[in-house]
Symmetry: C2
Subunit: 244 residues, 2 copies
C-alpha cells in the first residue's frame, strides 16, 4: 500500500506501519491496534508535539527513575514496536531494567517475541519468567517477574491498562505513566503522568535523565516533590480543549 | 479473553470484538482497527451518546436521502462489522443501494467478503464489479460500481478517507458523512456531517427517515437548506471541548 506523499497524516504513518508489522509477527494484538488509534486521536488534539507540561512531567519522571533503587520500564507489544531503542537508551541512563509485560494472549509467546525483539538490539530483558502475581488482579493479568516488576520500587508504564496501573500502585510501586489521554485511569492513577506520545516522551525522559545524572539526591527529591501531577494533568487537558 | 464485568469500558467492548472478528475473517484491515481506535477516543470525548446537534444532522441526512434519486450507502470493512443490519434497514426506508467500497488490499477479496456478509443477512449489495473510476483519485482508491456510487446523486460515507470524500464531492455527489472527528477532512468536506458513532447514527437516520417518509419534496428541501453544516460542526466541537 503506497501512501501519497501529499497525505496529511503521513507523519504518523511510520508508527502505523511499525504497529502493522507488530501485528503480523505476533507482538501486537488487535486490541493494541485499537489502543494505538485512540492515542492517535489524542495526539492529534495535542498537536503531535511534546507540550511544556509534558516536558515538566518528563523531568519529574527522570528524577524519580534516578532516585529509585530498582526502577523497571514495563514494555508491552505496542511500546516494543514503537520505541524499543529509546527504551534501551533510557534503561542505560537510569540503570532501569526492562520487562516485557503483556496480558492479551498468547501471553507467553508474546513475552518471548518481545524479549527476542530486544535481543536483536543487543538488550536482554525480563518478562519470560513471570511467575509472581501482583495482588488485586486476576492471574492472567497480574503475572510479573520476581526480580523485575515484582520487586521494583518504581515502574514506568506506557499505554497501560487502568486496572493494572492501579494494582501496581496498590502494591506499593511508584508509577510513572506515559499516556496520551489525561483522563484515562492510568493517567489519573500514576504518581507522574507524561501526557505525550511514547515515541517523543521516552527520548525526552532520557534527555532529562542525562542532564540530571550528576544531581544529588536532595536536589532530585526536590524536583519530584515540587511536581504536581494533578495540576500537570489539568494543563494537558486545557491544551486539548484549546486545540479541539 | 474474558473482560471483567466491572471494566469501565465494557460498553464499547462489543464493538471491539466485532472489529476483531472482522480482522480475523479478512473484512477489517489493521488500518481499520487503528481508525476504530481514533473514533473511540472522540466518542469518549462526546460522552458516547448522540448529541442534539448530531440528531439534527441525522434529520438533514434523512431528508437528503429521501430527496435523492439514486442514493448509495457506501460501506467499508468497519461499517460492515459494526452496523450491517442498520445499513440494510436504512437502505430499505430510503430506497438507497448499498455498495462495498474499500481500498486497502486485498480489495477484490474484501469486497466479496463484505457482499457475502450482507447476503447472510438476506441483502444483495453492490461493489463486486467496481469497474468505473472516480476522477481525482489513483486507480486503486477510486474504483466504484457503475450502477452504484458512479451514478449516484448522494453518497452516505462512514469512517471514510478524506481524499475519497473530497473526490466524491468534486465528482458532483451530495455527501452525507458519519465521522466522529469534526475536524477530519471527511467531516469538513461533506454537505451533511453527522458527528456520531455509526452504531448510533445509522439507526437515528433511519428513525428520522421513517418519520419523514410521507413528507413532500418542498418540506424536505426546506429541512436540507435550513441545515448549516459548519454551524453544526462547531457545536460538536464545542461539546468535545466541554467534555475534554
Amino acid at each position: 500500500m503506497k501512501i501519497p506523499a501529499s497525505h496529511p497524516r503521513r507523519a504518523s504513518l511510520g508508527q502505523r506501519h511499525a504497529l502493522e508489522k507488530g501485528l503480523k509477527i505476533g507482538i501486537v494484538t488487535p486490541t493494541g491496534m485499537i489502543a494505538f488509534g485512540r492515542g492517535e486521536a489524542f495526539d492529534y488534539l495535542l498537536g503531535e508535539k511534546t507540550s511544556a507540561c509534558a516536558k515538566q512531567a518528563c523531568q519529574a519522571g527522570a528524577a524519580l527513575l534516578l532516585l529509585s533503587k530498582k526502577p523497571v520500564l514495563s514494555v508491552n507489544g505496542n511500546a516494543t514496536m514503537l520505541c524499543a531503542k529509546d527504551a534501551i537508551k533510557l534503561a542505560k541512563i537510569t540503570g532501569a531494567q526492562i520487562e516485557a509485560n503483556v496480558f492479551y494472549p498468547p501471553v507467553k509467546k508474546r513475552r518471548q517475541l518481545i524479549a527476542r525483539h530486544f535481543e536483536n538490539f543487543g538488550k536482554k530483558i525480563l518478562g519470560k519468567n513471570a511467575a509472581k502475581k501482583i495482588t488485586g488482579l486476576s492471574s492472567n493479568r497480574g503475572m510479573v517477574e520476581e526480580r523485575g516488576i515484582f520487586s521494583a520500587d518504581t515502574v514506568l508504564v506506557m499505554i497501560e491498562d487502568g486496572d493494572r496501573t492501579q494494582a501496581l500502585r496498590k502494591n506499593g510501586k511508584k508509577i510513572i505513566a506515559i499516556d496520551l489521554n489525561p483522563k484515562s485511569r492510568t493517567a489519573q492513577s500514576a504518581h507522574v503522568t507524561i501526557v505525550d506520545n511514547v515515541v517523543r516522551a521516552l527520548p525526552e525522559i532520557a534527555r532529562q535523565a542525562h542532564k540530571l545524572r550528576n544531581t544529588n539526591t536532595e536536589e532530585l527529591e526536590k524536583i519530584v516533590s515540587a511536581f504536581d501531577n494533578w495540576k500537570n494533568l489539568e494543563e494537558s487537558l486545557a491544551l486539548i480543549k484549546k486545540r479541539a
